[in-house]
Structures are given as structure tokens and as C-alpha cells.
């Protein structure tokens, strides 16, 4: 249709704040997120908007943590939601819990970007100070029993080694980064970390 058009995005975004506030007052549970993803898979734009409002802060936090750069994290977050829009139909078959799926998408995209940056030039502009980012109660927690289980298993490792696993996951540190941090040869670092992973797995599946 010739007149099918969007001439007024402003009207929609004027309303964003209100819906975010409402989202903030509600407890968003796993099934809500799952329901939104399933509706997004059917091309439901309203569900997509609601999913964005409910999860973008968490996913932006994940991207920022890895990238330590606001502009890059914004680009990455946008890419992640483009992917969510296009790939939501794969969600129901991949066996992930909804937040795990979303966080995995965000983290993978952020680390890909980080690795690309490290291969190219290093951009230290706009470094975001992560020290201010303390966990908040409204952070969508994945089942807390799982959290304490993983943390319990990590606690069984030497402090350095569990710290290395956390750094690899949360900050996207590479073997090279970790070897430099702990001042050991690269191969030693790899041996350490692989052993840590096997111990962790034994603990988690035991």
C-alpha cells in the first residue's frame, strides 16, 4: 500500500517510559519472558517491545561488562535484539531457558565484538566504569539454587582459578589476558583452566 508508512516514531517512544515503569513495578518471571519470546517468533511487535523493556537492561549490563565501552555495548545490544527478532522461532527448539538463551546471545555478540576490537585497533574511548555496577535486587536472577550451586562449586577451586573462570565468562578474558594477569605461561594457564573446568563439571554433575 502506497500510504503504509511510519511518519511518527516519536509518538511511540513518548510512551516508552511509562511502559518501562510499569514493567519495573511488576515481577517479570521466566514464563512471562518465555511467552514474549514465543510471541516474537510469531512476528508480534508488541511482544518484541515488551521483551525489550523487560530484558534490555540486563543484556546491556552483560554487554557493558564484556566491552567496557558504551558505544560498542549499544551497537551490540541492538544487534542482539535484531537477532532475537529474526531467531526467536529457534528458541523453542534449542532447549535453553529463556534468560539463558538471551544472556548467551548477548554475551556471545559482545565477546565477538571484543575479539574483533583486540585484533584491530584498541579503542579506549568512552571506557565505562564498572566498579559502580553493584548487583541490584531487581536483576533478573536465574534460579537462585542454581546460582548458589555453581558458586559453591567454584568455591571448591583455588581462588585464582575460580577467578579466572569468572573473568573468562564475565569479562571475556582470553588465555592471553589470563596468562598475563596471573603471570604464567599461556600453556600453563590453559592447563589450569581445563583442569578447573573438569573439576567444576565433576562437582556440578556429582
Amino acid at each position: 500500500m502506497a500510504f503504509l508508512c511510519y511518519w511518527s516514531f516519536g509518538h511511540r517512544y513518548r510512551n516508552t517510559q511509562r511502559s518501562e515503569m510499569r514493567t519495573g513495578n511488576r515481577v517479570i518471571g521466566r514464563s512471562d519472558i518465555e511467552d514474549m519470546i514465543l510471541r516474537v517468533a510469531l512476528g508480534d511487535r508488541a511482544a518484541f517491545s515488551a521483551l525489550y523493556d523487560a530484558t534490555s537492561a540486563k543484556l546491556f549490563g552483560v554487554c557493558l561488562r564484556v566491552l567496557s565501552n558504551r558505544a560498542e555495548a549499544e551497537d551490540t545490544l541492538q544487534d542482539v535484539f535484531v537477532k532475537i527478532w529474526h531467531k526467536a522461532d529457534l528458541y523453542s527448539v534449542n532447549g535453553y531457558s529463556p534468560m539463558t538463551w538471551l544472556i548467551t546471545l548477548a554475551r556471545n555478540a559482545a565477546i565477538d565484538k571484543l575479539r574483533m576490537r583486540k585484533k584491530g585497533h584498541v579503542d579506549i574511548d568512552e571506557v565505562y566504569d564498572l566498579a559502580t555496577g553493584a548487583p541490584t535486587p531487581e536483576a533478573e536472577a536465574i534460579a537462585s539454587s542454581e546460582t548458589s550451586r555453581l558458586n559453591g562449586c567454584l568455591a571448591e577451586l583455588d581462588a585464582d582459578r575460580s577467578d579466572a573462570v569468572r573473568r573468562a565468562y564475565l569479562d571475556g578474558d582470553s588465555y592471553k589476558d589470563l596468562a598475563a594477569r596471573y603471570d604464567v605461561p599461556l600453556n600453563t594457564m590453559r592447563t589450569w583452566l581445563r583442569r578447573s573446568l573438569l573439576k567444576l563439571r565433576e562437582c556440578l554433575t556429582g
Binding site: M1, F3, L4, C5, Y6, W7, S8, F9, H11, R12, Y13, N15, T16, T23, L42, G43, D44, R45, A46, S49, A50, D53, S56, A57, K58, F60, V62, A73, E74, L77, Q78, V82, G95, S97, T100, I103, T104, I111, R115, P135, T136, E138, A139, A141, I142, E146, T147, L150, N151, V165, R166, A168, L170, L193, R194, L197, L198, L200, R201, L204
Partner: protein, 228 residues
């Protein structure tokens, strides 16, 4: 013995893969295996799920609004500049006479009582199918049966139904669609006469409907009215 070793090797390898610790060549080789080995995919999924709980330690940070705006522009792009003309220019109030119609929030009605054969029908749909509304007009009763088949209003917004009559530039409001999927709209005879060869359209509006009597938000879906 060797199976067990292979398995623990793979478990560690899958963990390294999930942590993005593998070098490019190793990563590519691992991904090649992933395509053929369901067991390896399970290991990856397990690690992803285990490690995802570490993100609990990451504080949520609200992204700036421009990210969502950019996202919508990327996914649901604005098409040609000239296309804003018809409704945008006329938003000023030529159709003020019809505001009263638009202001009425239509009450939901049970659909099963209505089985008179329609005179006109329209399939009002977004190009990507994200919003689909079927409409049929019953001339005997001057009623329009409207059934939302897919999609809905954005949070905190409403959907408003319009008729763009043949030869008339300004759209006429047929009312705000309620949250219910099915609704019956009483169409004033003056508007009913203009349905033939017209186009129905749905726009995104603030609660209560367009304050101006002309569409103020994005046109989400359109569909020509056709004879049955």
C-alpha cells in the same frame, strides 16, 4: 578408557568453547564437530546454562532510548519520504466532524450471534504479518465485525481502525479496537456508504484514540475492502 578420556576432553573443550577461550582455528574445528555431534551440543548447552548464572553478578543498566529507536528503524524501516503525505498533511482537522466517532471505545460483543452473510470484507494486515485483523461488513445491520487474528497494541497504546474512502483523502475513524479479539462496530450510515472500494487501516494511537481525529501514530496495517 579412551572413551572416558575423550569425553572429559570434550567436556573441557566445550567449556573452553563456551568461555570463548579457543583460538580461531580450534573454534572453527569445534563448530564443525558441533554440527554433527549431538553429544557435543549437549555439553555446550550444559555449560551455557551453568555459566549463565554468573551473570547474576552483572547489574542491569538501562540502555539509552536511542537503542530501541534505532532497533525499530532497522527492523521496521520507514518507507519512502513521500508516503507520509495523505494522512500527515490532513492531520489538521478536516475530519474533525468524525472525531466523535473515534472517541467512542467500542464494546466487545460475542461474535457467535452474528452469522448474517457479509457484504464487504477486508483483511487488514501488516506487511510482515505482525498484525492481522479481519473485518466483514453486514449491510443489513450496518455493523462491521472485526477479529484480531495476530498481533496487538504496543504496551500503553491502542489500535485505532480507519476507513480511507475512495476519492477521499482524509481517513475516517471507525473507533479504537478494544483488547478483546473480536468486536462488532456500529457504522454510521454516512460512513457505511463509503466502504465500497475503500481501504481499512489500523494506526498506533495513545489511549483513548487519536486526539486530533486523524491518525497520529504509525500505520501498522492496511487492507482493501472487497465485495463478497
Amino acid at each position: 578408557m579412551s572413551t572416558r578420556e575423550d569425553h572429559s576432553d570434550d567436556a573441557a573443550l566445550a567449556g573452553e568453547y563456551v568461555l570463548h577461550l579457543l583460538e580461531d582455528a580450534e573454534r572453527a574445528a569445534f563448530e564443525k564437530r558441533l554440527a554433527d555431534e549431538p553429544g557435543l551440543r549437549d555439553l555446550v548447552r550444559e555449560w551455557e546454562a551453568q555459566f549463565a548464572v554468573l551473570s547474576d553478578a552483572v547489574a542491569p543498566v538501562p540502555p539509552p532510548p536511542r537503542v530501541k529507536a534505532g532497533l525499530e528503524k532497522t527492523l521496521f524501516p520507514v518507507t519512502g519520504a513521500g508516503r507520509t503525505s495523505i494522512w500527515g498533511i490532513l492531520a489538521g482537522g478536516i475530519v474533525a466532524a468524525f472525531v466523535a466517532v473515534g472517541a467512542v471505545l467500542l464494546a466487545p460483543l460475542p461474535m457467535d450471534s452474528l452469522r448474517t452473510s457479509p457484504t464487504f470484507t477486508a483483511n487488514v494486515a501488516a506487511q510482515d504479518g505482525s498484525l492481522v485483523v479481519a473485518a466483514s461488513f453486514i449491510a443489513d445491520t450496518n455493523t462491521l465485525e472485526v477479529t484480531r487474528q495476530a498481533g496487538g497494541a504496543f504496551p500503553g497504546r491502542v489500535l485505532e481502525l480507519w476507513l480511507i474512502a475512495e476519492g477521499v483523502d482524509a481517513p475516517l475513524s471507525l473507533g479504537v479496537l478494544p483488547e478483546e479479539r473480536a468486536v462488532r462496530i456500529d457504522v454510521p450510515p454516512a460512513i457505511a456508504r463509503q466502504l465500497a472500494n475503500g481501504v481499512l487501516a489500523i494506526s498506533d494511537e495513545p489511549p483513548g484514540g487519536s486526539p486530533t481525529g486523524a491518525p497520529t501514530g504509525a500505520v501498522l496495517a492496511t487492507g482493501p475492502v472487497s465485495d463478497v
